[in-house]
Symmetry: C2
């Protein structure tokens, strides 16, 4: 009654980073072992018997790229029988966000190299990872509209214009600066600081804000809906 299964389980992570100069980028590693040796792929690997899926993802991110993740949620499970040439491998994909300025990428023993790639200029990817990344980008675009996950990509303190540029980049459309600022202040999830931008390249220095997570959860429980 219990069929002998020949299926292995792995996890993969689509980690997004953002730097104001560039666009949204995704973390890729260069494989050192077959299949797809020397090809770019998502960080990930087989799940160990005793660990949770989340533990597997954070472990792989740590050992393959030296990344400590800022935000992590499950994305989708990819299970097509032919997706891995080694045999049946089902992959639980995760979706993560980090601020790339917070640390230095460190390719370790498991990876030949680890680098950020602009999501519009991705190399050929191993396995079905192109599909996985596509799914993650879609998720990022829809999720950022009704949950304030964008903050995870920014510095702790930031001018509202940085947040606005992030939204313009992710949603790929222009947003009116003044209406955006009005809306953000209206939600009341930004905490203003008595600090200004240090050395703006030009113009009036902006007031710095940080995300007030506590206030956000309070408002969420009251039924206030965050939506851009």
């Amino acid at each position: 009654m219990e069929p002998k299964q020949n299926i292995r389980l792995c996890v993969d992570a689509v980690v997004f980073g953002y730097t104001a100069k560039e666009s949204i980028s995704v973390l890729l590693i260069k494989r050192t072992i077959p299949p797809f040796m020397h090809r770019w792929a998502l960080p990930g690997g087989f799940v160990l018997d005793g660990e949770t899926l989340e533990e597997a993802v954070t472990r792989e991110l740590q050992t393959e790229a030296g990344v400590h993740i800022n935000y992590l949620e499950q994305l989708y499970t990819f299970g097509r029988p032919e997706r891995d040439p080694r045999g049946r491998v089902v992959s639980v994909a995760y979706f993560g966000l980090v601020n790339p300025t917070n640390f230095k990428l460190a390719a370790s023993s498991d990876a030949e190299d680890a680098r950020w790639f602009d999501i519009k200029k991705l190399p050929d990817l191993a396995f079905d990872h192109a599909e996985v990344v596509e799914t993650a980008v879609k998720r990022l675009r829809t999720k950022i509209r009704y949950e304030p996950i964008g903050f995870e990509l920014l510095d702790q303190k930031f001018p509202i214009s940085d947040l606005e540029k992030l939204y313009e980049t992710v949603l790929d459309r222009p947003i009116d600066r003044r209406n955006f600022q009005k809306k953000m202040n209206h939600f009341g999830i930004l905490m203003g600081h008595n600090e200004k931008q240090k050395h703006p390249s030009a113009g009036r220095p902006a007031k710095l804000y940080s995300f007030n997570e506590e206030q956000y959860f309070k408002l969420k429980q009251e039924g206030i809906i965050f939506e851009i």
Copy 2:
């Protein structure tokens, strides 16, 4: 380099049904084998080596309850190491919708019984299935607000008031009948028929509509956003 894994993979389905008289209900089966023998659980089972995850779900639904599903999407993968007393079993949960009036539940060899349970009056469930159902209910509530999945729960032709009652039930709040009707007509995804309700228990018989899927996809591509 390739660790021996001792993990098995199964699928489980949270199938919702709706009958106007009652509330939203979920399909459960009574287990015939240990663990949790004679306890209520979600339909599901181990994935076969050659089949996709979707194939596994539809197969199990067919053999355990005789259900042909109307709408199916992946929900979440549950992977806590202790979630199954038999050992490490990771479960990919799916989320489904059917119109229960379209067929008769048929408990087969694999299940002692198969029944609909009101989501507000669930029995004790096997494994972590209570958590799975909770996740699915949350998904139903959020998803129905911005995608027209509710139609899968209704008859092919229905009065708008049926749709409205469904939304009131799922969202658990009163909705103004007249504004709802206005909004639905405004979207243009309902196709009117020259037919009226046969025997209303009282009042003026309502015009019957059906969901115009083709029109919906057309509007979606044009960027029109469906939102209740």
